[in-house]
Assembly symmetry: C2
Homo-oligomer: 399 residues x 2
């Protein structure tokens, strides 16, 4: 007498492959797969032109299926922020994963070490960032403890993270890195793989010049640190970093060898608000929340998508306009609702019950993390059809 | 060679019943079950004193297990906002559910009707809100179409939603309600159950007087609308509404018969910032994100909980202090990190790697929606132990 698991599953799916976009139940997170493929092609071309590796950040899409799509397009692997995200990627068949973050809890490091041995047995590679001696020694201990249980001995790649302006994790540029590098090199299960110099705060500086200035400072600090390490006779094989906002600057630096940008594939309202650097490939919006009007009054209408359908840490979503002209403004309606009003001067009426709006989320990463599935559409949002349901298999992978 | 589903499950669980709080992996959403039971007791006592029904909003906790706990404490059932939430509640054994929101899509109404018939067969009751003639006629059609497949004929309770100041869904108070009521009464499968008069915007007005003024206006509008309906010879059995912020006002009104407040059970930083009405029971913080420091520098430390661990639509989390004195301030570190600095005048050091912080989320509802499980603790956050893992079975139930 109870709705079965299947009921909940069909609810979660919300769409059937082969049906038209009009049949997608709302709210749903919809991906324009044509735009995704164009964005991936532009990134691959950009990286090739600059002779750089690209390792997109999977914290954004949280999907092993999309990670594999990126690797088919030329990515060397993916980045993640969390041990549990790495586990989800590996479980999904991705065996080149870099945890661009510090892991210090022994329980988590045991999982990291198990994963490192697992991917090594499949000719894959795990990497991780560190910013403390304690972090290095615990990682080495975990790698050694995992070895007797592992199918094959493994070496984990270790990047020293520099704080190049983000003010978050990472050691300050300079001498401190040398001690960390020596500590890494003391342990046979660890390989010093290079420096991570990601400047998160530079990504959304609105003017290209401000982003160039921020990355120029990061480059200077990182080069200085690299020179100190190399003076000790230790090569620095790779500097890795960059996001969608600043990637043209890192690419032009001659220092970075790997781009971690991830948001370019979906884009969002916050990145779209950046003034575009002429050197930047044109990345299209590919991520939308499909929503429907459930209530309509004289002054406003209410749609069925609120904070539980899209993250608002970078602002409320924008209403997508197919004509390019403004139509509706979206206002905060709480967790489950959005308030819609005609945009100033748009000359459109208040939407009616059943009307569909396509929302462009403020920030792609935490928006994707709210959904179990992405509904992949080809042929456009107006006439297209559902061609693929993509599981967000690292959704909620927090630890 | 792949990590099994069990690996992911154990990651999601993060805690084992019987272990101490120190063993809970981070970040984790932890519920102080002792505080929960005290909060439920205070709500039950308050409702009894005012001779009111209480039907807490399950959009907050999204857990059928907690819904059943609330009903054991005296709640008549629960509220939800979404069809999919209602399905999750019913699947979890809760058969008295009120969808306090408009549902207009025929596909969803078919699910609503199926659910109405399902709970009726178990002596339960489904209810729903409407604010349009179109919504009523579609609901009636769905109920009729579901009937031949249903184990027993059912009648769904229908509340007419008034917009009493929220500016979201609902019709304006006044004559429009009469037409809607007549339309509801035309359909044998629908029962006009009363009026919903929920004032969302009143919940976080900081001063008790401002909240009293807002609810006084809502009461006046609702009484006027009720009198228009009763003049037609139609009884208005129930007025339902109220949230944790304003509930003392609705309770004192003599108009409302049912309280929908939900957040009182967990509380959050936003509700704690309200100046407390003397008539309000003292509800304790019961919801925390346990987080651990993963990086530590001279000026700040970084913990492992960011926007993907807690919603920030109502502001960043506060760091819980066991002494009551301020210790640390939490700053935005993005999706996966929090920045911690000693609070002004606190005289504490920058936290070190491994240090644990307990965060009080800004807003409980969308925070719970980010997690698959709540870790239930008894005996307090310092010395207690994990006594129950609670599945958030309506997490992500968006449609």
């Amino acid at each position: 007498m109870r709705p079965s698991t299947k009921t909940r599953l069909s609810e979660s799916l919300r769409a059937i492959v082969g049906s038209g976009v009009e049949a997608i139940d709302t709210p749903a997170l919809v991906v324009d797969l044509d735009a995704v493929m164009r964005n991936l092609g532009r990134m691959a071309e950009f990286a090739k032109k600059h002779e750089m590796r690209w390792r997109p950040h999977a914290k954004m899409h949280k999907s092993s299926a999309l990670a594999k799509l990126q690797m088919q397009a030329g990515a060397v692997g993916v980045c993640v922020q969390k041990t549990a995200e790495a586990e989800a990627m590996v479980a999904g068949g991705v065996n080149n994963v870099y945890i661009t973050n510090e892991v210090v809890a022994p329980g988590k490091l045991a999982r990291v070490a198990a994963l490192a041995h697992l991917v090594a047995a499949e000719n894959g590679q795990l990497a991780i960032a560190v910013d403390s001696i304690e972090g290095v020694t615990r990682l080495a201990q975990a790698m050694n403890e995992a070895r007797p249980h592992a199918p094959a001995p493994a070496v984990i790649d270790v990047f020293v993270e520099l704080d190049v302006g983000q003010g978050r994790c990472g050691i300050p540029p300079g001498r401190q890195a040398v001690g960390l590098v020596h500590e890494i090199r003391r342990h046979p299960a660890l390989r010093f793989a290079g420096l991570q110099a990601y400047h998160g705060k530079a990504q959304h500086l609105r003017s290209p010049q401000a982003r160039r200035d921020a990355i120029a400072a990061a480059v200077q600090d990182t080069k200085f640190t690299r020179s100190l390490i190399e003076k000790e006779g230790v090569p620095v094989d790779l500097v890795t970093g960059a996001g969608t906002g600043s990637m043209v600057c890192e690419a032009a630096s001659g220092l970075y060898g790997e781009l971690q940008a991830g948001s370019f594939m979906f884009m969002d309202a916050d990145y779209a608000a950046n003034e575009r650097d002429p050197a930047q490939p044109h990345f299209e919006h590919a991520l939308f929340v499909k929503s429907q009007v459930i209530s309509s009054g004289l002054q406003h209408a209410v749609c069925d998508a609120g904070h539980k359908s899209h993250a608002i840490d970078s602002g409320l979503p924008r209403v997508h306009s197919f004509s390019g002209e403004p139509t509706l403004d979206y206002f905060n309606g709480g967790d489950e609702h959005g308030i819609l009003r005609p945009a100033a001067g748009a000359g459109v009426a208040v939407p009616r019950i059943d009307d569909v709006v396509w929302l462009i989320p403020g920030h792609c990463d935490p928006t994707v993390n709210l959904h179990d599935f992405l509904v992949g559409v080809t042929g456009g949002l107006e006439q297209g059809e559902v061609s693929r349901i993509i599981r967000v298999d690292a959704r909620g992978a927090l630890t």
